[in-house]
């Protein structure tokens, strides 16, 4: 019950946050010059048609009124219609969102798996060449711009070696009857590899370094010494005692990393032509498609907050000393 109350509290804070964000964005978008119609001037719409369009978008009303309508609709779960696509912004985004999430979740899983195991291994072998080289590689991967890494991998594996596709999510011309079929096939996997690996490489470095540092600290703890004194096997000490506790700080950075990954997906999606949400935001912003941009931004915000919440709960669950408050 208390957990429920806690979650409710967190969600309320999240809603407040989102509300503030939405408000800021709403006005930000509308204060600057340029409206969605001016983007289509080349289509030769005359003035009257432009005004008709503006009216159709609801942009002819005073800004305060627009805001009230927007918030009212939002409360009803209506995110408004995308100016570009005509249909509900949520619907437009939902699909992109799925694509982004699949890419990001895959890469995060790979990243944390690599990060945790490699970080632990490096720390266990501290002060050796293995540790040094591993740490340096991790640092470099961490500091290299993700799009650049992507470009290099793309040049090598797709352009030079031609073993992986150049981008996109599916080979064009494939038909799918349902979503499952779309995501669960070899072709999709092949397209997933490069972007997921690029993102994973980048996201793995931080958990790796954190895990390493935290392992190094844990190794010095008295309970590790006691575990040795107990005559436990080294492997068991590493797995059950050292890694288990060293994992805790890694959990806390999970949320940050996930937020980063989702936010940064725009770069990966750009390089690999992944039909995800990040790309859509860029387009929506430059087309002044306010509802779409706002919806996408909100969704990312919600996801960031959710990941934070999950990480916090997970942390409290994993560390018996820590309580949520």
């Amino acid at each position: 019950m208390r957990l429920l109350k806690y979650i409710t509290k967190r969600i309320l804070v999240m809603l407040l946050t989102l509300f503030v964000l939405v408000t800021i964005l709403f006005f930000l978008f509308r204060v600057v010059p340029g409206d969605p119609v001016s983007m289509f001037i080349d289509s030769g719409l005359d003035r009257e048609s432009q005004e008709l369009l503006l009216k159709h978008y609801g942009l002819d009303k005073p800004i305060g009124q627009q805001y009230i309508i927007y918030i009212k609709n939002l409360l009803k779960g209506d995110f408004g219609n995308s100016f570009q696509y005509g249909k509900s912004a949520l619907e437009v985004i939902a699909e992109r969102f799925c694509n982004t999430m699949i890419l990001m979740v895959t890469s995060l899983i790979i990243a944390f798996f690599i990060g945790i195991t490699a970080g632990a291994a490096l720390a266990w072998k501290r002060n050796t060449k293995f540790d040094m080289i591993g740490t340096i590689i991790a640092l470099i991967v961490r500091c290299a711009p993700i799009f650049w890494t992507g470009m290099i991998l793309l040049s090598i594996f797709a352009f030079k070696l031609k073993i992986l596709p150049l981008g996109g999510m599916n080979t064009p011309g494939m038909r799918f009857d349902n979503l499952l079929e779309k995501y669960l096939n070899f072709d999709f996997l092949k397209h997933l590899i490069l972007p997921a690996v690029t993102a994973a490489l980048y996201s793995a470095a931080t958990p790796l370094l954190v895990m390493r540092t935290s392992m190094l600290e844990v190794i010095k703890e008295d309970y590790i010494e006691l575990a040795r004194a107990k005559g436990l096997k080294e492997k068991r000490i590493m797995r059950k005692h050292a890694m288990r506790t060293a994992l805790l700080p890694v959990v806390t950075i999970f949320a940050v990393q996930a937020g980063f990954a989702i936010g940064g997906s725009v770069l990966i999606e750009t390089v690999f032509r992944w039909p995800g949400m990040g790309r859509e935001i860029v387009l929506a912003v430059s087309f002044r498609d306010y509802p779409l941009a706002q919806t996408a931004f909100l969704l990312i915000g919600v996801m960031t907050a959710l990941f934070n919440l999950i990480a916090d709960i997970l942390y409290a669950y994993l560390d018996p000393r820590v309580a949520l408050d």
Binding site: P145, L267, G301
Partner: protein
Amino acid sequence: MITLNKILRMLRNNKVGMIGLLIFLSFVIIAVFADRIAPYDPMKIQYDSDGGVKRLQPPSKEHYLGTTWMGRDVFSQMIVGSRIAVLVGVISAVCVVFIGTNIGLIAGYFGGTLDNVMMRLVDIVYGIPFLPFALILVAILGPGIKNIILAIVLITWRNSSRVIRSQVLSLKNRTFIEAAKLSGASHWRIIYKHIAPNVMPLSLVYVSTTMASAIMTESSLSFLGFGDPLQVSWGKILYACYSSQAMFKAWWWMIPPGIAITLLVLSGYLMGRAFEEIANPKLRER
């Protein structure tokens, strides 16, 4: 806990930090003397003797890193590009940490409602996805360094202020602060004379890491085409390379900016790690 002198001394003893500092300083020097080092105007289109544009020439004696598709000298672009990186990195880092440290100090020290309000604000800012926000802000306010820095500062202060606040929370209950209180020191004296120097290593950690992330952000935004259009920056070089379809052909155009970004960002992280070790002695014996 240690003194500023000791920080410098330890940095000298800290190989990692030293390497970081050296890399950073070399880039600063390059940035300062960029005009003199760069053999050509980075935006100038280079023509060969028969008046043709020198498009996509591989590295040669005249053009150390070859030319771009528009016939611009990559090496000069690299040199001049360091300016934006260093500028954005340093300015945002200083702003961010100045704001973050002060908020952290004040919220942490006074606590109560003030703290509550500030930390809720931090919570809200934490809810903002960084890159998308920066992107929207820059797209709306117009691409340009000022706006990029603004976007970075508007969001990144949250990290340092939260961590510094918690450091202040623990410092303020440390006995030497209570001792200072007992000597009758005023709040501001305690904050700025007694607490602030003790959070300095932590602030320096954030100066370094913020610098690194600011540089990364600038290059990401530039790569997405939101960089300052009239200035050369590494991200923009990469963008130009990517968008002109030359990335598979002209390695000399694609590789150097990435390396430069990596190195400069790395220098920030290395310095950050060094300061972290100084701030947190537990990490030191490695």
